[in-house]
């Protein structure tokens, strides 16, 4: 089972009771098998995003007016439109699948850009310290002080919503978290022996940062990224709900929820399923992120 503690462990070493009750056991199982979460993720996010062009039963942007506001299959509808149609007769299922593409692309690009920016600046701050550190940390604080939606508001009001706008907003929100985390780790790593040895051997700063320090913060970065995809998806959904996201007619989950809002009484499925997709996706992502964090880097903050 576990490795036995050293032989002179004091008798005060304490651990949990031996028999957790059944709900907790299920929960522990769920926690330790990310397969379930990964599976849900694949179904909801990745496969549709990649294969929507082939797998989606209908065109997401072109609706058959005759078939508008049809209910989902077990609520009086047919298998042709398994999750029902919206007010323009567009198939909800297909739109959700295409919407996955939006969510996935925005989160990946946004995290990549924000992550790249954040990791680089964090490393510079932690490595060079001094004024670089002070300035960058000020920027981190300021950027954390400015909530995402406000920034999106400003950008949207000034420029009009677009793909670039959202990416900028996402990157702006994320970079600071990476920078702060990476800087902290770099501060401790740079004192280690192998860094000193590399410096003595004449390695350039850049080389040291990339070859010696970066691999050691990789774990943290990966966990952080996974934990953040969920928040990015929710952020993007909120923005498209408000009309500040990807412009029409590209389907986005948040926008779909907004569309169905007026019809909530007569056609609840239009808002319900896209929101459900968001919830399940983010839930699985969070589980996956938690699992990764427990395996790779338990030091990270819970929230």
């Amino acid at each position: 089972m576990n490795n036995p503690p050293p032989k002179d462990a004091p008798s005060e070493t304490l651990i949990v009771p031996a028999q957790p009750h059944s709900l907790r056991r299920i929960w522990l199982k769920l926690r330790s098998y990310p397969l379930l979460s990964v599976f849900v993720l694949l179904v909801l996010l990745v496969i549709p995003a990649l294969t929507a062009d082939w797998l989606a039963p209908h065109d997401p942007t072109f609706g058959v007016i005759m078939d508008r506001r049809l209910p989902p299959v077990f609520f009086g509808g047919t298998w042709e439109y398994p999750l029902g149609t919206d007010r323009l007769g567009r198939d909800i299922l297909s739109r959700i699948m295409y919407g996955a593409r939006v969510s996935l692309s925005i989160s990946l690009v946004g995290i990549f850009v924000g992550g790249f920016l954040g990791v680089s600046l964090g490393m510079l701050a932690g490595y060079f310290r001094g004024w670089t550190d002070i300035i960058i940390m000020r920027l981190v604080e300021i950027s954390l002080a400015l909530p995402a939606i406000l920034l999106a508001l400003v950008l949207a009001a000034a420029n009009g919503p677009s793909f670039q706008t959202i990416i900028i907003v996402v990157a702006f929100v994320l970079w600071a978290l990476y920078a702060r985390q990476v800087r902290g780790e770099v501060l401790s790593i740079r004192e280690r022996d192998y860094v000193a040895r590399a410096r003595v051997a004449g390695a350039s700063h850049f080389r040291i940062m990339v070859r010696h320090i970066l691999p050691n913060v990789a774990n943290t970065i990966i966990v952080l990224a996974t934990l953040q995809v969920g928040s990015v998806i929710i952020l993007e959904a909120a923005l498209s709900f408000l009309g500040l996201g990807i412009p029409r007619p590209t389907p986005a989950w948040g926008m779909m929820v907004a569309d169905g809002r007026q019809l909530i009484v007569s056609a609840w499925w239009i808002s319900f399923f896209p929101g459900l997709a968001i919830t399940l996706t983010v839930f699985s992502l969070n589980l996956l992120g938690d699992w990764l964090r427990d395996r790779l880097d338990p030091k990270l903050e819970q929230v």
Partner: protein, 309 residues
């Protein structure tokens, strides 16, 4: 402690200044706001005239200083959509509504999250704990706007318990507050739980029991005061989220606050109002964080008295 406070105030001012630069910069990013004002086929001379009126033909930094000067005096321009109203005036009109809803949401979130967090820690591994964890995970996965819509559907339409929208008293506030605070309950609960677990491991808790202190008092008097310190620092973040959340939630529930105002302004391309809202939010946010820091010093005597020793 005075030194600490002074430092924080200065820091806040710097942050505020930086935000103003960002907002100002973004507004000029897209070229001319004037383009929104004029019809598309306006002649270049007309455009030039309007630009001059608005001072948009002066160099950028001059514009910025004018902007700051005006802002400090409370002049953030006039609303384009609501003629006769100043941008700041519109914000002031709507702010109380947002504060009302936001304050309510924060209070009930805290009242729910902290006891649950403490109890989850005390009965670690028990049913309560697992239940709490589930709630927390769901809370962080459910998008607030969707939650709001589902709540309306279930409680207002189907069961007719609450009104569907609009501002009002308690029954109008319940659903929006739940939708707004849901995420915060989850986060706060997790934080409280881990903080309480740490505190319960401490020797002074053992000593309290050895003194014969009844268990309820050990938890709610001895442990809570210490465990609450960590979640308290999270409050600044909560306030920020509540305000940004207000944009979405007020839209869903047609609650006439500053969040809804921002959306309406964007739809009408009323840039001065948007700017005013964002600046107000930023100021409120910064002040709230400052207050949290002060409270933090009160709760933890070690911070309060450190300068004197």
């Amino acid at each position: 402690m005075q030194r600490y406070l002074l430092y924080r105030v200065v820091q806040s001012l710097v942050t505020l200044l930086a935000i103003s630069v960002i907002i100002f910069g973004l507004s000029r990013l897209s070229g001319n706001p004037v383009d929104a004002l004029l019809p598309d086929n306006a002649a270049p001379q007309e455009a030039a005239v309007v630009m001059h009126e608005w001072g948009l033909d002066r160099p950028l930094h001059v514009q910025y200083f004018a902007f700051i000067r005006n802002a400090v005096q409370g002049n953030l321009g006039n609303s384009l959509k609501w003629s006769g109203e100043t941008a700041l005036g519109m914000v002031w009109q709507r702010l109380p509504a947002t504060l009302q809803l936001g304050g309510f949401a924060i209070i009930i979130s805290t009242l729910i999250a902290i006891p649950i967090g403490v109890l989850a820690a005390v009965h670690k591994g028990g049913l309560f704990d697992s239940f709490g964890k589930m709630v927390a995970l769901l809370g962080q996965a459910v998008p607030p706007f969707w939650l709001g819509i589902v709540l309306i559907w279930v409680f207002a339409v189907y069961w007719n318990v609450f009104p569907t929208s609009g501002r009002g008293g308690f029954e109008h506030m319940v659903m929006p507050a739940i939708a707004m605070g849901w995420y915060q309950v989850a986060a706060l609960m997790r934080l409280t739980r881990s903080s309480t677990l740490e505190v319960l491991d401490n020797e002074y808790i053992k000593l309290a029991r050895l003194k014969g202190v009844p268990e309820w008092r050990v938890i709610w008097v001895h442990a809570l005061r210490n465990a609450a310190i960590a979640p308290l620092t999270y409050f600044g973040v909560i306030i920020g989220y509540i305000f940004t959340g207000s944009v979405v939630i007020e839209t869903v529930f047609a609650w006439p606050g500053t969040g809804l105002l921002a959306i309406e302004a964007i739809r009408a391309r009323d840039y001065p109002v948007v700017q005013a809202v964002v600046l107000t939010f930023a100021v409120v946010f910064i002040i709230a964080n400052l207050i949290v820091d002060i409270l933090y010093a009160f709760v933890d005597p070690r911070i309060r008295y450190n300068d004197n020793e």
